[in-house]
């Protein structure tokens, strides 16, 4: 666990994209959360505080400040994310993406870029609704409220096309983004609305009218919370299904372990929310005495703050997960395909009984080392007792010597000190002893550069 946190920290420091992603997720959740909170939770609560207009106006003013700060942070971090992604996509440094038309190519021709353009338009439209939505006036038009809530949900939900959910084929191409959109909207409605809830609680408590406002808000938020948690759970299951895929993948990959930490944090948040609903909300609603109500309000506020902190940690993990290869790769993919060094010779040898990825590095005449990875037909790692490799030079006639391989800690087999006498079309043979009676021999040509 300590090494996981250390490597996460090192990754954070090394990768500015992580900061941009974390800040953008947090800012997006906050903006969408404030708007959804104002429409679904606070508007009825403000009507309940009719006896004290000042407290409702006070809350609206503070929510407006939070919304504008969130929107500004979302714009800055969104721009940084776009530039860093454009740089990574084109392979040019971040400073160069403005020239060469790279930025426009990304915006107009990639899924990520189009999602960013659409979200920019959504953010502008949302900004246009904010002054009226959070103005000092008490009564808002229903159309304004619906429009703002839909824009806020779309602004958060469209983040789905910035990450892993966008890439699927077949049924996954529909189900995975759909689940991710709902997941993001539900997260905004719950986690993003915690800070607005704290602000409302902080303003309430002085008199009956403000306590009435807090009561209505608590009941409404409780309903919103249950719907959100249910949605997060259902859609989180779909996402985990596509991105982790198996128990070993969850337990034995960095991606899987981080995802587990995220799930534990989520469950802790749900547990606090359950305490709020089962114990504190009834205390607030009983109206036995102002003192008892205030005590319940104070504890609800503290719990909301703890939930918000856990939510921030979840957002940081989400930001990191998006930059990592999903756990599903470790179990089901050919990892070497993604990481063949430029100076290596590589061949994938495929038989029904099993396959081998052979990487010879450097892949040119001279001294080299070889790495052999073995897979069964389902791309699961293939257990072997003993592995040896034979390299036959182009046009060789004699018997080439067989070189023993030793197994590394990561499961791959390693052959050191290979002498590649000449460039050309060599033949590599991998001899695998599976058990006492089963052997596997894989042969393929491999090109050695001069």
């Amino acid at each position: 666990m300590a090494s996981l946190l250390a490597s996460l920290l090192a990754g954070l420091l090394a990768d500015p994209l992580l900061y941009a992603r974390a800040l953008h997720f947090a800012a997006t959740m906050l903006v969408a959360g404030v708007v959804l909170f104002a429409v679904l939770v606070a508007a009825p609560a403000w009507r309940g505080a009719a006896g004290n207009r000042a407290v409702a106006m006070n809350v609206r003013t503070r929510l407006a400040v939070i919304a504008w700060i969130g929107l500004a942070l979302a714009a800055i971090s969104g721009a940084a994310w776009l530039i860093l992604t454009a740089a990574a996509m084109s392979g040019s440094p971040a400073a160069r993406v403005f020239g060469d038309g790279v930025l426009w190519t990304v915006l107009s021709q990639t899924t990520f870029g189009r999602a960013w353009l659409i979200r920019f338009v959504l953010a502008c439209a949302l900004a246009a609704t904010l002054p009226a939505l959070l103005s000092r006036r008490d009564r808002k038009s229903t159309w304004l409220e619906i429009t703002a809530a839909v824009l806020a949900a779309a602004f958060a939900g469209a983040l789905a096309w910035s990450g892993h959910a966008a890439g699927g084929l077949g049924g996954e191409a529909i189900l995975h983004p759909a689940a991710d959109v709902l997941h993001l909207v539900a997260a905004a409605a719950w986690v993003g609305a915690l800070l607005p809830l704290i602000v409302l609680f902080a303003a309430a408590g002085a008199d009956d009218a403000s306590l009435a406002m807090a009561r209505t808000a608590t009941v409404r938020f409780s309903i919103l919370g249950i719907v959100s948690v249910g949605t997060l759970l259902a859609t989180g299951i779909v996402n985990t299904f596509y991105l982790a895929g198996s128990v070993p993948a969850l337990l034995h990959t960095e991606y899987g372990r981080l995802l587990l930490i995220k799930i534990v944090l989520f469950l802790a948040m749900v547990a606090i929310a359950a305490i709020n609903r089962v114990r504190l909300t009834p205390q607030l609603l009983q109206q036995a005495s102002i003192a008892a109500s205030r005590g319940a309000l104070r504890r609800l506020r503290r719990n909301a703050a703890i939930e918000a902190l856990a939510g921030a940690a979840v957002i940081a993990i989400v930001a990191a997960l998006g930059t990592m290869a999903p756990a599903i790769h470790a179990a089901h993919q050919h990892p070497t395909y993604g990481a063949v060094p430029a100076d290596a010779a590589f061949v994938h040898i495929h038989l029904v009984e099993g396959m081998a990825d052979v990487t010879i590095r450097p892949g040119r005449a001279g001294r080299a080392g070889a790495t052999i990875r073995l897979w069964d037909e389902d791309f699961e790692a293939l257990e072997a007792r003993q592995v040896s490799m034979t390299l036959t030079a182009p046009g060789a006639t004699g018997n080439p010597t067989s070189l023993p391989a030793r197994q590394r800690r990561d499961g791959a087999w390693q052959v050191d000190d290979i002498e590649l006498s000449q460039p050309g079309n060599w033949t590599v043979t991998v001899d695998v002893v599976l058990d006492r009676t089963k052997r596997l021999t894989l042969t393929a040509p491999i090109v050695i550069e001069p």
């Binding site: 996509m89 990304v106 084929l169 996954e172 198996s246 550069e449």
Partner: protein
């Protein structure tokens, strides 16, 4: 407490093994990775595990001397990438692909195939 265990067990449902995929990795190629084909193909077709971004996905084919034998820009459609070949003779050819998946992650790799009866 019963609710809590219900939540925990619900969370465990997705952990059943499935064979889903993510990120664009090479699924298969024509000519097949490492294969020997009797006659020179007109193009190399690469099929990936995810849809690709045409603007940033490329493939280059070189002969054993390192000279380019492809016809330039690869055509991308969904999860396949096709790159045309010049007329080539017997020999070994190296395909170097660079794929940008629609989920913004890029992967790359190389493989060889062989033309001719030796």
């Amino acid at each position: 407490m019963r609710k809590f265990f219900l939540v925990v067990s619900l969370c465990l449902i997705p952990l059943a093994p499935v064979a889903a995929r993510a990120h664009a990795f090479l699924d298969h190629a024509s000519p097949l990775v490492g294969s020997t084909v009797p006659a020179a193909p007109h193009d190399v077709v690469l099929t990936f595990t995810q849809n690709l971004e045409p603007a940033f996905s490329t493939a280059q084919v070189t002969d054993s001397s390192g000279a380019r034998v492809d016809q330039g820009k690869a055509q991308v459609s969904g999860n396949t990438m096709t790159v045309g070949l010049k007329s080539i003779g017997p020999g070994s050819y190296k395909v170097h692909w660079h794929a940008l998946s629609v989920d913004t992650h890029s992967t790359e790799g190389t493989f060889t195939f062989h033309v001719g009866g030796h």
